[in-house]
């Protein structure tokens, strides 16, 4: 199977993730969009690794997995903290930084 298909799939996944972040108000869903984008990037890295016959992309993918795991912990903690403070997880609700 041509590895370019994986790259196309990664692009589609990234687009879906980005759309989820931009369009959904629910913080959990937006967060899932972020994860989706990260994994789309991982898929692209692994595909490129295969295409070039080099190991670099796969190593990078592992780094991304580790960082993503840490990011999930922190992100969920923030969402819970926001929920406790405001009784909501809508992304449009906190707008104190309005200029």
């Amino acid at each position: 199977m041509d590895p370019i298909n994986f790259v196309i799939l990664a692009s589609i996944l990234f687009a879906i993730g980005a759309a989820a972040v931009l369009l959904r108000r629910n913080a959990i869903i937006a967060f899932m969009g972020v994860e989706l984008m990260l994994n789309a990037a991982n898929l692209a890295l692994v595909s490129f690794s295969r295409m070039h016959g080099e190991i670099d992309g796969q190593i990078m993918a592992f780094f991304v997995l580790v960082v993503a795991a840490a990011e999930v912990v922190v992100g969920l903690a923030i969402i819970i903290a926001v929920f406790r403070a405001r009784q909501t997880i809508s992304l449009d609700e906190p707008a104190e930084l309005k200029g």
């Binding site: 980005a18 972040v21 931009l22 369009l23 108000r25 937006a30 992304l91 449009d92 906190p94 707008a95 104190e96 930084l97 309005k98 200029g99």
Partner: protein, 626 residues
């Protein structure tokens, strides 16, 4: 002793600081310290004079190096003193008349709570004036020049609790400042064209400089001289300066400071030698001012202002003489010395009259004072005869020579200058006789609470000494051309020129005009009754009473346009310069305002912005092949 001439400046200066710094503790003896400082300066000056007289005429110029003042590459100025016959003449005049006036002031200012400060200022004046005449460079002269200006300002405004006196002091200061700018510019020109500002360098380089350069320097020096010496067009401050205590008027505004301009011109002789045009302007300004001052003096009822106008006129004579070149220099200084004596004497006499008349200055309320104040009458009378130029009194020897010298020359110039000097003598006779008769003769026109009495000895003795000087100093100095020979090393040898009219004719014409002036004044103010209030008068008299509308002219020609110019500049500054800066700031503020709107606090819109930005960057990278 000649090397110790710095003491002349140091002693009065030190005394002045002591009096100012010690404060009220010095009140009981402060005035005597002031007198002693001035007297010490006189003694030092006298010893130096005696030593100088023992020297050969050509060795009399003595330079005293004090310290290196401004070592600045091309401009190197040392502070030094130049003791020569010219500066020594001034030293003697300033310290002698100054000391007498110090003594007079002890009594005159007796009831003033600030007498100590008055003496501190007087000492400061003496120090500054001596620095002015002893300096060996224009820059050091300028220090003295400003010093006397400061002392003059402080003393005119000595009773500054009266707003109009404070205004008079400010006026004197501001008008003098215009002249000072002339001196500063002249020094700049000297440095550029002649390579220095000390007398030796300037005078050595002057013969090689071009006429245009010397004319520019000469005219700037003349501007400085007109400011300090109250000559046209900067004459307006002198009349108001009479707000100061009378001894101040006698010392500063009659005998010494106002003659500094004449000193400056005579000292700068080598510059004027190469600038005949500037010289002619000096003579013309002198001739014009002598007539102007005389006309103003004819109409004034305030005794001090009449004397001030007379001072202006007499300095006009000196300026006229100084503008005639070497034939006039010695007579300018000669008249300056005799004038210093008789005018100071008359001012002290006026002060004595005011002292006895409850500070009344209106001559229309005087009259018949000769019986009440005999000493004042006699001493004033001697001064009056001297200024009239009646032989053998002092003024005759100096003023007559100036009139003669003014008639020397070719073309129309001697007729104009000589004519002005001749008519001026007649006018002088009229206004001085008017003043004398209105004050001492005629019927008493005193107000009820006035009981004229003679002043104490501390005041009359200086008046007597000055009166003796007014009577005989001229004769003493003129005999055998003593004074002109004495000054010759400085002013140069004057070729003898015949005036366009024979000398006896000039002399007789002068004396006839003087007699006519006295006779008219006697008819009008001596024999006839003088009205107690000034009668309605012709336009000319009104003009003279108002100082020829000098203040209105200054206001119209300089002050108003100046104010408008300033306002325009202020407006332009606000509209253009400030406007540009403000507009820039506002545009940044507006930009910030509009950018601020994008910061809406919505996380998702930030995310969108980031996404769009990233896409754009990627597109650029991919398309640009970077």
């Amino acid at each position: 002793m000649l090397d110790l001439t710095w003491l002349l400046i140091a002693v009065p200066l030190a005394s002045s600081f002591v009096l100012l710094l010690l404060g009220k503790r010095a009140n009981p003896w402060g005035h005597w310290l002031g007198v002693a400082a001035s007297g010490t300066a006189f003694v030092v000056g006298l010893l130096a004079l005696i030593q100088m007289l023992g020297l050969d005429a050509h060795d009399r110029a003595h330079a005293v190096h004090l310290f290196s003042w401004i070592p600045g590459g091309e401009l190197n100025v040392d502070a030094g003193l130049l003791v020569d016959p010219l500066s020594m003449t001034f030293v003697m005049l300033v310290t002698f008349v100054g000391t007498l006036i110090h003594i007079y002031s002890v009594a005159y200012m007796e009831h003033d709570p600030n007498r100590r400060i008055f003496f501190a200022y007087l000492n400061l004046f003496v120090a500054a004036m001596l620095l002015l005449v002893l300096a060996d460079s224009y820059l050091l002269l300028f220090v003295g020049w400003e010093g006397v200006g400061l002392a003059s300002y402080l003393l005119i405004g000595f009773w500054n609790q009266k707003p109009e006196y404070a205004t008079a002091a400010n006026k004197a200061f501001v008008v003098n400042r215009i002249g000072d700018i002339g001196l500063i510019i002249a020094m700049g020109l000297m440095f550029t064209y002649l390579g220095g500002v000390d007398f030796a360098t300037v005078f050595a380089a002057a013969p090689e400089a071009s006429t245009a350069q010397l004319t520019a320097i000469g005219l700037m020096l003349l501007l400085a001289a007109t400011g300090k010496s109250a000559q046209f067009p900067l004459q307006s401050w002198l009349g108001d300066a009479m707000a100061g205590p009378t001894p101040v008027s006698a010392l500063i505004h009659a005998a010494t400071m106002v003659t500094a301009g004449v000193y400056l011109i005579v000292r700068s002789a080598p510059i004027y030698e190469g600038a005949p045009a500037a010289q002619t302007v000096v003579a013309a300004i002198g001739a014009f001012t002598l007539i102007l001052g005389a006309l103003i003096g004819m109409a004034k009822d305030d005794i001090k202002k009449a004397l001030a106008a007379s001072t202006m006129s007499q300095i006009g004579y000196m300026m006229l003489a100084a503008g005639l070149g070497p034939i006039g220099y010695a007579f300018a200084i000669f008249h300056l010395v005799t004038h210093g004596f008789f005018k100071a004497g008359m001012f002290l006499g006026a002060g004595s009259v005011m002292h006895g008349m409850h500070d009344q200055v209106d001559m229309r309320r005087y009259g018949a004072l000769r019986t009440a104040m005999v000493t004042t009458w006699v001493t004033f009378g001697l001064g009056w005869l001297a200024i009239l130029g009646v032989p053998p009194f002092s003024g005759f020897w100096s003023k007559d020579k100036i009139i003669e010298a003014a008639f020397v020359g070719e073309g129309v110039q001697p007729w104009i200058l000589g004519g002005a000097a001749l008519i001026g003598a007649g006018l002088t006779a009229f206004y001085m006789s008017r003043l004398f008769f209105m004050t001492f003769h005629g019927k008493a026109r005193w107000t009820d609470d006035q009981h004229p009495h003679e002043s104490p000895a501390l005041m009359t003795v200086p008046m007597i000494i000055l009166a003796v000087g007014s009577a005989f100093l001229g004769l003493f100095l003129a005999m055998g051309d003593r004074f002109t020979d004495w000054l010759e090393p400085v002013t140069g040898h004057a070729e003898h020129h015949e005036p366009v009219l024979p000398v006896p004719v000039i002399m007789v014409a002068t004396l006839l005009l003087v007699a006519l002036g006295v006779w008219v004044a006697w008819r009008k103010y001596g024999a006839a009754d003088v009205p107690e209030t000034a009668p309605a008068a012709s336009l000319a008299t009104i003009a003279a009473r108002n100082d020829m509308f000098q203040d209105s002219v200054n206001r119209g020609v300089f002050e108003r346009p100046g104010t408008h110019l300033t306002r325009t500049l202020v407006y332009a500054d606000a509209a253009l310069v400030d406007g540009a800066v403000d507009k820039t700031a506002h545009s940044f503020a507006r930009t910030g305002e509009s950018v601020r709107k994008t910061q809406n606090g919505q996380v998702r819109s930030y995310a969108l912005t980031m996404l769009v930005g990233l896409v754009i960057i990627i597109l650029v990278v991919v398309q640009g092949g970077l």
